[in-house]
Amino acid sequence: MMHRSRHPEIVLPDADRKRELRRRSRRGFLIAGLAAVGGISAYEWITKSAEENEVPWPQRGVLDINGKLAHAYLSDSHLMPTFSADRITYLKPNGDEGLKTPLDLSEWELQVTAGKNAPVIKLQLSDITALPRVEMITRFCCIEGWNAIAWWTGARFSDFTRKFYPAGQQLSSYVYMATPDEEYYVGLDMKSAMHPQTLLAYEYNGKSLTPEHGAPLRLVIPVKYGIKNIKRIGSIQFVNQRPGDYWAEEGYDWFAGL
């Protein structure tokens, strides 16, 4: 054996050596046992503590810390890659919560509330299409693990906000969006909402949105998982309290940022 001398050795007569080994074994296995009990107790605490929106609170707390860190790092200059048209793939319309109530497109309007006790502004699709038109071919990432490349056309949420948010008022911290029947709703941090790739989209693959993709107006927010890309938006509220979120209440991360 080479280089063994780097590690300590104990040379003892037979009887003493056996006793020494027994002593060290007893100590080592006792510590191992205590560590195992400690580890299992910690695991029990992590996984069995009282739940906060379906997640034991220690884990919910870490999800929120992860979200805060990601929010701090989030930047308008960090972009989802964009692709050429030949890279477009099939996009599975996934999830129909909030789309089950029949909708007459001619009756649709977008209700916008900016601030407490602020009057509700009612907008038509033409108000959105009048904003600068942006086309974008980006990756859409579902929280289930699949992804697709899709071509979206719409108005930047930041352009929308600049146009319809009350001038001179400080921008709120969060945005809440819901379907007209309020069966589906998402909460967004303002930084993600104002990201240059966040669109209020009205076209998918060059055509008006189909019902399953969220006609007449949906959110496309590449800095978030698909669950935040709400379809068939009926109302938008600018708020200062972190708003509720459909999937966050089902045990998912509230931030859900990419």
Binding site: M1, M2, H3, R4, R6, H7, P8, E9, I10, V11, L12, R17, E20, L21, R24, S25, R27, G28, F29, A32, A35, G39, Y43, I46, T47, E54, V55, P56, P58, Q59, R60, V62, L63, N66, A70, Y73, L74, S75, H78, L79, M80, P81, R139, C141, C142, I143, E144, G145, W146, N147, P222, V223, W247, E250, G251, Y252, D253, G257, L258
Partner: protein
């Protein structure tokens, strides 16, 4: 005369025994996540058949898996990072990294020897050549898992990292393949530990082992 020798330093034993349950939890929660889109296969071997998921009670626990994965990732990364730093600073890395290309040849000879296909075994230090390759490889795999994990966790904020691994889908595939690699490592490791015997296993708990000097 036989003597007691300190084989595994106390810090290394803690790193190892913390890493074992942490990596297990990362793999387990990873499977809860992977279930939601289990698309990988080799030929007709599907990862994994529905029956496997059902037997392990994995279906419909995506949210739970994500919450666990993004909790334990911190502990896994912190423990791994301190281990690597400790190994470098203490000089223990000298026993662990392949010394030259011949280490890979020797590792092959060790494998043949262990399979009873070769009589002689190459001379070794604390670890044999196969162990050096395996224990260095597993650390590199760990680094790979963290980096590919980040690439699919934040493909916008860290889009350069995602691109480095060949894009989102490729990064996810590598992340999964590394996980399967851990399972292979685990099986071989446990078999080898069982074959090496109690004195060797005990030294991973208490640090000391009885050596018969010839």
């Amino acid at each position: 005369m036989p003597k007691l020798t300190l084989k595994h330093l106390v810090a290394v034993r803690w790193f190892h025994w913390l890493n074992f349950p942490l990596l297990f939890l990362m793999i387990w929660s990873g499977l809860l996540i992977y279930w939601a889109y289990p698309t990988y296969y080799i030929g007709t071997l599907h990862f994994f058949p529905k029956s496997v998921f059902a037997a392990l009670n994995i279906p419909s626990r995506l949210a739970e898996g994500m919450a666990l994965h993004f909790f334990f990732m911190w502990l896994f990364v912190i423990n791994g990072a301190i281990y690597i730093a400790y190994t470098l600073i203490s000089g223990e890395w000298r026993y662990l990294v392949p010394r030259s290309w011949s280490t890979f040849r020797d590792a092959w000879y060790v494998v043949l020897h262990d399979l009873h296909l070769r009589r002689e075994v190459p001379p070794q230090d604390k670890y044999n050549a196969a162990q050096r390759v395996a224990y260095t490889g597993i650390v590199l795999m760990g680094i790979g898992s963290v980096l590919t994990g980040l690439a699919i966790y934040k493909p916008v904020q860290l889009n350069w990292l995602t691109a480095l691994f060949g894009g989102y889908s490729m990064a996810r595939l590598i992340h999964f393949a590394l996980t399967m690699g851990y399972l292979v490592f685990f099986v071989i490791h446990v078999v080898q530990v069982a074959l090496a015997g109690w004195n060797n296993f005990r030294s991973m708990i208490i640090g000391w082992e009885m050596i018969d000097e010839k």
